[in-house]
Amino acid sequence: MPLPKPFRREGGDHRVSVLKSPTLRSLAQWSLFLAVAVAVFSYIASGLNEPMALPTHPVSRAAPSGEPRTTSDTPASKDEAGSLATHANLPAAANLPAGLQTSSRQTSGLHTSSFQATVEDLNAEFRRHWQQRGVEPAPPADWYTLCRRLSLALVGSGLSLEEVRYLQTVPEADRARVCRERLLRDERFVQYWGERLTRTFVGAEEGPFIVFRRRRFVTWVRDQLRDNRPYDAMIRDMITARGLWNDQPQVNFLTVTMDSGEEEGQVDVTRLASRTSRAFLGMRIDCLECHDDFLGNVTLGSASDSREGTQQDFHQLAAFFSVARFNGLQGIADQEHAYRYQYLHEDEAVEVPPEVPFDRDLADPNLPPRRRLARWLTHPQNRQTARAAVNRVWALLVGKPMTDPVDDIPLHGPLPPGMDRLADDFVAHGWNLRRLIRVITATDVYRRDSRAPFEVSERHEQAWALFPVTRLRPEQVAGNVIQASRVKTLDSEGSLFGQLQKFTESNDFVRRYGDLGEDEFDLDAVTITQRLLMLNGKLVSEHSGSNPILNACTHIAMFATSDEQAIETAYLAVLNRPPSGRERETFLARLEAHPRRQAIEDLYWVLLNSSELGWNH
């Protein structure tokens, strides 16, 4: 390699005389050394040299060479077991980490034929639905789209370039399954779903000071997910929680309500009734707190003898929690305590007995109140609880619930196609959330494209013949921006600096962008504030600017061997897809007309600002 121009010995060039100074020569040598070191480090860090084998990632336990080579991901012959037990190079199930083991209840859930049967049933049900609605389904999405979808749903951000490159080494038919199994075993899945489920259970507020420890509760939910604990057991733990909020984190489900309610210093039984109904039964019965239903919004009773909800239904549900008393240093304990309420148009308050709002024969009257409620909620024949879980998980995966709003599932229907089949499978296989995720993501309906070669309309989307285009949460947008600017996967095994940077940047961005709170699945449009933040804000600017140490766009500008490769790499890193012909032509022209680094930065900025980055599709 020729020396840089200032260092060449050329006749009487005055620059040579400058280098005669030992100090300056030493300085120059060190500068050169450092420049080379930075370049080499950047090149290695950029990961642009080779497709990656991800040797240190958790998924490396399922090394590519050991992957079963199926010709297609559907029917999901390998979907159920994934890459867990069938891989020769994996440790025996007993030696797997807790998060990868399955309980005896859940082992039955790993029966491949039952898994396949469920998926095929669902596919058939949706096919009938499309025929009945007279809509043609969109073609299957390509693997890029499907894997991005999975990544957004399971870990909250798009794929890293490292992950895309790895998946490119896997046979195309296996990519979606391999991607899903990697993500399900990734600690980021536990972190992300822990936060999302926490919002379902206790809301997005910080709650009352001292008696509510949000972080403890999130950690508890994450532990349950890591251990793959059955969902019904989680519900029972929360409903019957006792003790102190620090020692028994599930107690926070109750104590988060201690800043409201009629009785100071005690849990708010009406808020708990509302939360229980919405989070676990997927039903909005809040209006019954003040009056009987007169709009036909809340239907209870049995399927053959349905009736409108009453104030009694709500307050009898609330009465289950009246025994949960805050008792100083012991925290929450069960104590005899009657719930009294003055109904509308009545002259005085009456004692309200605890009673479930429907399917009363499934409640065991011999159990104490909170245990009775918990057992009734998770009774295998109480389909409503399983439906609520299915609708929630579907919404987290797809971005839109099967029936909208997510917590307003009509008790006696009509229900969307597939809901009861999924609910029954969920209960039959031990309320196993991972199995539910695998089943949903293996179905044909999950794999539809969000575009079609024929004219599509809202009817297609409503019939699930077209994958819905849904907005991402602010932290997903931030996660996408930050991840797109790095070649390597930003996971929990990354550097402390990287973690801290991601946390700080993400929090700051979400604060400005606007947290969605619990309104997670609304299809609201983007706002001016959000657009300004993306157009001119610090996060996008810093992650698309020149930074030879950290930023992928600079690495691409430095190391991509051709303009075409640079454009394609940028698209893969940011949008997880290759560019279209028109896009390629446009940006090739930009690269020819402007300095390379500037043109790549511009390209990055454009992609980070696209609606495609901020919306799931």
């Binding site: 800043d259 449009a525 001119n536 609606s611």
Partner: protein, 435 residues
């Protein structure tokens, strides 16, 4: 989903009032003069009503602000002073405001049912108690929703927002307040970070090429009815290039005016609020914290009053001078009041059972006072409102009054996104303070 509304023109900027002001308007600001010409092309008609909400975060003490009881056992160290409104007296901690009270009305008997900050903030800002099934819109969001005409800049602005800026609720985040901080600093994210030429090249590639590719084969009205990405981007670009952005820049005001508001972020916020109303913004919320005085009540309330006093007084005077007060409602209050009793730490705790709110302008009867609290309250009563408050009104009543004053039917019913009919307010206007 509600119809998305991103404003782009100042249709409601009254040509008549502007030109009238320009003709004899000694006090017409240079900004308004500059914008008057643009407004000439707009349709005539009355100037739409606007709201400035001075949000006292943390809950001010009624006894140290607008409802003092000096000499009583609950009065503490605060004395009262005469005002320009007849026999009305307010706290001596607000001497400049006292000189403006002939322009304002007081409601001294507001009662709520929320004693927790977060829940009470929601209650006061929306008129409804928190309900897990729905998020209600704030006053500014309702106002913007009811009249879609707009300005180049967002019509709902929150200056110095705390943890709970006003939200669009079920009307959608399009109606959320646009958040800005101390007007001494530029508005965030409105300055492009590259040269104009490079920036526009980027935007062209974004909107023409990448967005075009995203829409290919997808729902034909995806952008128009769902993402609004292009529309919002263009609105953001319009805002970035708008002269109206100058309304945020209070340094353009004469030194004398700036000094009158006080050299504080809140004072600058109030001045910016007046300037924003001038260019067509419909609701500006300016937040002042420091009122949560569980210890050393008198010191903390005095300190906060020092900031509030010049700013509120100058705001009323400036709005009057610029002929904006007739169409601008000023509301000053917090989430609840503070306990009549002083606790062992010299503080006052949370008290939703009778507290004060100031209202001025926009059809509010100047000098009116509604309700009263007892100087010798029975604090052990099971029903402190019935025992200690004369002519009590609810938070919902306060909301109905505000909506009424700004020309919005308070009992109008809107459908929420799930089709649930919902009144804008479930209260009754306080007639005694409406002219």
């Amino acid at each position: 989903m509600n119809k998305p509304a991103i404003c782009n023109r100042s249709h409601h900027f009254s040509r008549r009032s502007l030109l009238k002001s320009a003709g004899g308007g000694l006090f017409l600001s240079p900004l308004a003069t500059h914008l008057a010409r643009a407004a000439e092309t707009d349709a005539g008609g009355g100037r739409p009503k606007s709201v400035i909400l001075l949000w006292m975060a943390g809950a001010p003490s009624q006894l140290e602000t607008f409802d003092p009881h000096p000499g009583s056992r609950i009065g503490g160290d605060t004395t009262a002073i005469k005002t320009t409104s007849g026999s009305l007296q307010i706290s001596s901690l607000l001497p400049q405001v006292a000189e403006q009270m002939h322009r304002a009305a007081l409601v001294r008997s507001v009662t709520g049912k929320e004693g927790d900050h977060k829940r009470a903030v929601y209650n006061i800002k929306t008129g409804y108690r928190p309900n897990p099934s729905i998020v209600h819109p704030s006053i500014g969001s309702v106002l913007c929703h009811q009249d879609e005409s707009g300005a180049d800049i967002p019509r709902h602005v929150s200056i110095l927002p705390d943890q709970s800026p006003s939200r669009g609720g079920y009307l959608g985040p399009t109606y959320d307040a646009f958040k800005v901080y101390d007007p001494a600093s530029p508005v965030p994210d409105v300055r492009r970070r590259t040269s104009p030429e490079r920036f526009h090249r980027r935007v062209d590639d974004l909107l023409d090429v990448v967005e075009g590719e995203f829409s290919r084969g997808r729902l034909p009205d995806l952008q128009r009815r769902r993402t609004l990405h292009t529309t919002a981007t263009r609105a953001a670009l319009t805002m970035m290039d708008s002269d109206q952005l100058a309304a945020f820049d209070v340094s353009q005001e004469p030194q004398q005016i700036q000094q009158a508001f006080g050299d504080t972020p809140f004072g600058r916020g109030c001045l910016a609020a007046a300037r924003l109303i001038e260019v067509g913004v419909r609701c500006v919320e300016v937040t002042l914290g420091g009122w949560d005085s569980h210890v050393n009540n008198h010191e903390l309330q005095s300190s906060a009053c020092e900031t509030l006093d010049p700013a509120l007084a100058a705001l009323l005077q400036t709005l009057k001078d610029r002929e904006l007060l007739e169409d601008t409602l000023v509301v000053c209050g917090g989430e609840f009041g503070r306990t009549p009793n002083i606790n062992p730490l010299g503080g006052r705790d949370h008290w939703p059972h009778g507290f004060s709110t100031l209202l001025a302008g926009c059809g509010i009867r100047a000098g009116a006072v509604h309700g009263a609290t007892s100087p010798e309250p029975d604090l052990k009563s099971d029903d402190p409102v019935a025992k200690n408050v004369e002519s009590p009104v609810t938070v919902a009543d306060l909301h109905a009054t505000i909506l009424n004053a700004v020309g919005v039917e308070h009992d109008k019913v809107l459908d929420t996104p799930i089709g649930r009919p919902m009144h804008l307010s479930e209260g009754t206007p306080i007639k005694s303070i409406l002219s």
